[in-house]
């Protein structure tokens, strides 16, 4: 569904991605794990069109070299690191903006209700300016907003960041639910343990390079991964 070939990204003098290649299959949860600064966010930003890169990204047999808004139109939804909610708009306005490209009033309304049932906290805060939400609440909003665009593939950048343990569980449950709705998910996570437990396949990204790939189970059982990312002591 999504194929990336030999991707290079530079920030000025910093070579952030050094020839990354990967592919995402339809309907799977693919997770990318890697430590701080490995280049995970950079990868997602390249896919959604915010960065200039060398190499190619192919989506549904088309080369992606459009502006971000066109890419969204093609059904790719990116829930970014740092959430980027519209601080001065209310929670509900944020959610509705998520559905900006859609025209089916009824579908939008249904999806809104769906999001509110997934995240009841958002319903309570419907009319609050989203800039004043707590960190975790903003994270929920960003996820909810992403869902509102009813995408084919979702790029999630550390969705559990800053969430309370109870909610982390919920978020991962939601991700599984979303997949059940027939969507494809590319998940970037620090919480490798959780991510691997719900993912089908995984890649490990280190210093801009893919150093390992395989089924989530294999990766989770790999001893060096266990040590480095799962916090299992020697």
């Amino acid at each position: 569904m999504l194929t990336i070939n030999n991707l290079h990204v530079y920030y000025g003098g910093i070579h952030a991605l050094k020839g990354v290649s990967l592919n995402v299959n339809k309907g799977e949860i693919l997770t990318i794990i890697g430590s701080n600064g490995a280049g995970k966010s950079t990868l997602l930003n390249s896919i959604s069109g915010f960065l200039k890169y060398k190499g190619e990204i192919i989506y549904k047999d088309q080369k992606l070299n459009f502006s971000p808004n066109k890419i969204v139109q093609m059904g790719i939804c990116h829930v970014p690191e740092g959430r980027l909610v519209f601080a001065n708009l209310t929670v509900e306005d944020n959610l509705l903006l998520g559905a900006y490209l859609r025209n089916d009033k009824k579908g939008i309304k249904e999806d809104l209700e769906k999001v509110y049932t997934l995240f009841p906290r958002l319903k309570e805060r419907q009319k609050q300016l989203s800039g004043t939400l707590s960190g975790g609440e903003q994270q929920m909003l960003a996820m909810g907003r992403g869902l509102m665009s009813s995408p084919d593939i979702m790029l999630l950048d550390e969705p559990s960041l800053g969430l309370a343990p109870l909610l982390v569980q919920t978020v991962f449950d939601i991700i599984t639910d979303i997949r059940k709705m027939g969507k494809t998910i590319l998940l970037v996570e620090q919480n490798a343990f959780k991510a691997l437990s719900i993912a089908d396949r995984a890649y490990v990204l280190e210093q801009g390079k893919i150093i390992m790939e395989g089924s989530a189970k294999d990766i989770a059982n790999n001893p060096s991964i266990k040590e480095a990312y799962l916090g299992v002591k020697k």
Binding site: S35, N36, G37, L166, Q190
Partner: protein, 254 residues
């Protein structure tokens, strides 16, 4: 002896009560945890302590002095510093400059002496530079000294924030989700770092975090907040087994 005391502290935003009548103490030299569901009011408490928000009701004392509603810089001067949930570095300055700037607290030469570059200014500047390098050394940032802060990986940015906070020789350090965005291994390193600096700088520390391994691992005492109210308080063991906390926050499996 209590370093910080909050008495009956309430904060309202319009109709919303973010923190409601919280009583809370931090013992000198301790590492205390502050946990609770998202939106419980944890960051708000930090903002109240550091003077970023004004207290609606109640009183906060630090080291026996009333600090309620003082300006943030005064509170910093008195010895409370913090890091932010959404990192706030001097983004375009280098790592070294970030720390050196905060070291300003330790020099007292005047504007006039600065403009004429008089001996006192020279001497103190030299000390500041030494102090800054020293701190970077301790925090393991010395080899990235000339990096622009914004270009550092996330984890190091958090470290830098801690380094900056330490430059003021604080008595109390408030850390707002220092482990956010870190993987378990990095979190473990952070835990070591926190215990290290507590010893080296003779600090008391208050931590907000959602990583239970971290909080349970290093805190001596934990307070749990829910909907702005205190839900529970106690040692990690007590908290972990408290059914109210499990229901509201930890979940069955944790």
């Amino acid at each position: 002896m209590n370093l910080l005391e909050m008495k009956n502290v309430t904060k309202r935003f319009g109709g919303l009560t973010a923190v409601s009548s919280v009583d809370f103490e931090i013992e000198k030299g301790s590492i205390t945890g502050l946990i609770g569901p998202n939106g419980a009011g944890k960051t708000t408490i930090f903002n109240l302590i550091t003077g970023v928000y004004k207290v609606t009701e109640g009183k906060i004392t630090f080291d026996g002095k009333d600090i309620t509603n003082k300006e943030p810089y005064m509170i910093a001067d008195m010895g409370i510093t913090r890091t932010f949930q959404n990192i706030r570095l001097f983004k375009k300055l280098s790592v070294y400059e970030n720390v050196l700037t905060a070291c300003q607290y330790n020099a007292n030469y005047s504007l006039f002496e600065a403009m004429l570059y008089l001996p006192r200014c020279r001497k103190q500047e030299k000390q500041l530079k030494e102090q800054a390098e020293n701190l970077l050394e301790i925090m393991g940032l010395i080899d990235r000294k000339d990096f622009i802060a914004n270009n550092l990986p996330y984890g190091l940015q958090r470290r830098l924030e801690i380094a900056r906070a330490l430059s003021l020789n604080p008595k109390l350090l408030l850390l707002d989700e220092p482990a956010a965005g870190m993987n378990p291994d990095e979190t473990a390193q952070l835990m070591n770092l926190i215990s290290d600096i507590r010893k080296k700088f003779d600090l008391s520390i208050l931590i907000i975090d959602h990583h239970m391994d971290l909080v349970m691992g290093i805190c001596e005492k934990i307070m749990v907040l829910n909907f702005g109210c205190k839900l529970a308080e106690g040692t990690p063991i007590e908290i972990q087994s408290n059914p109210k906390v499990i229901e509201a926050y930890l979940g069955v499996e944790g």
